[in-house]
């Protein structure tokens, strides 16, 4: 089946891409670039790097900008999906939704309206198992944003390796945060994987952190040989 993957460059959408690739053709990625920092659907730091990830994966990408107002961003998503249907003849959409009924139901409605398939292969997955799958599939991921106490600026830019996963699990038990960040506690960025023809190399980045929220703002990055 020809599919498009809703892609932010974070670990969940990348894992969804990996799963979609196993037995299907991923014809393109779709990214929604939201100006609204409070967006329920799409806001993520470093969304500007989706182009680099798409180049590294050698997959076409459709990018649509949105002001991020609640219903407007859904209309913009629908527009992007329609464009993928027209340009790449896709028959379905794949997302990395894990637990948000808000996100999942809205995507389901759009796909249903357009009479295409909607797949959410991480749906209801245990968060720790997702983190472990990231390691076992050799995906290089960094923490690009933290949005909950006790996650502080020391986490920003750090790789999601076994030590970091153990630390996040411990904190999730103590402070009731989601270890994989499904509640919006953590945002991530994929830099490399076995499917990447080139890796993303960060040339310059800054940490912005205050009031228990911060982002690892990547100012300059490029593709590098592996």
């Amino acid at each position: 089946m020809k599919l498009a993957v809703l892609f932010s460059g974070g670990k969940d959408s990348f894992l969804a891409y990996l799963k979609a690739k196993e037995k299907n053709e991923v014809a393109c990625l779709i990214s929604i670039v939201s100006k609204n920092e409070e967006s329920y659907m799409f806001h993520t730091p470093n969304i500007h790097l989706v182009d680099l990830n798409a180049q590294a994966l050698e997959v076409p990408i459709i990018k649509v900008k949105t002001t991020g107002e609640k219903e407007k961003e859904l209309a913009d998503l629908k527009k992007a999906i329609k464009s993928a249907i027209k340009k790449y003849r896709i028959e379905g959409i794949v997302s990395g939704a894990i637990a948000s009924t808000y996100q999942a139901s809205r995507l389901q409605k759009i796909c249903n309206d357009l009479d295409i398939w909607c797949f959410n292969p991480l749906w209801q997955r245990d968060q720790v198992s997702i983190l472990n799958e990231i390691i076992s599939k050799k995906i290089k991921v960094i923490i690009a944003g933290v949005f909950a106490y006790p996650l502080d600026e020391t986490f920003l830019g750090k790789e999601l390796d076994n030590d970091m996963i153990a630390k996040l699990i411990k904190l999730s038990e103590e402070y009731k945060i989601n270890p994989a960040g499904e509640g919006g506690e953590i945002e991530t960025l994929v830099l490399d994987s076995p499917l990447h023809k080139k890796r993303l190399e960060i040339k310059r980045a800054e940490k912005e952190y205050k009031n228990h929220a911060g982002i690892y703002k990547i100012i300059d990055a490029e593709l590098a040989r592996k």
Partner: protein, 181 residues
């Protein structure tokens, strides 16, 4: 042994991960008596006889293949096992016992009103559930309706058998129902 029936059209691995794997994960956590996942087209009498409990899963909104294969579920009429049908599973239960599968769309979180507690495996604690269907059900009087949403029958039980159906997806907001089952 708990038998988990995969209702996804064959070849839809991504739907399996979305609709069957979560049920398998919930059952797997505290289950000592064993479990087995089987596709509905591959069910045989031996499997049904061996199962103490059977869960018939849901599938993707666009997947209606199971409606073309209702004859594969005639074992429901004879089984003595406890059965829980989820969404597509609830639809086939209704159909096998003489009811109808009717157009009825609900996508997202719906409010649930309890009608008759005798038909419930466990109470719906949150009075909310996650619905994902283009088809609903029209039941015969062989069933007790346990709960409804504004648009459809959501929860029912066969009057004489331990056969339950839920049109919503308990694996999302009502996991305790599956644990209890």
């Amino acid at each position: 042994m708990i038998l988990i029936i995969n209702m996804c059209k064959q070849g839809l691995g991504l739907s399996y991960e979305e609709f069957v794997q979560p049920i398998d994960d919930i059952v797997g956590k505290d289950n000592d008596s064993g479990k087995k996942v089987v596709h509905y087209l591959n069910i045989n009498k031996k499997m049904i006889d061996k199962a103490d409990k059977i869960i018939i899963c849901g599938t993707a909104l666009k997947d209606n293949d199971y409606i073309e294969h209702i004859e594969k579920f005639q074992w429901l009429k004879d089984t003595e096992s406890k059965v829980l049908g989820i969404c597509a599973g609830a639809q086939v239960i209704a159909k096998v016992f003489g009811g109808k599968i009717i157009k009825n769309k609900e996508i997202g979180v719906v409010d649930i009103e309890i009608i008759d507690k005798r038909a419930l495996i466990t109470d719906i604690i949150k009075n909310q559930a996650y619905a994902l269907h283009n088809y609903g059900i029209k039941l015969t009087d062989s069933f007790i309706i346990g709960a409804k949403s504004k648009k459809s029958t959501q929860y029912f039980k066969h009057k004489e058998k331990e056969i339950y159906g839920v049109l919503f997806h308990p694996e999302v907001l009502n996991k305790e129902m599956i644990w209890k089952f």
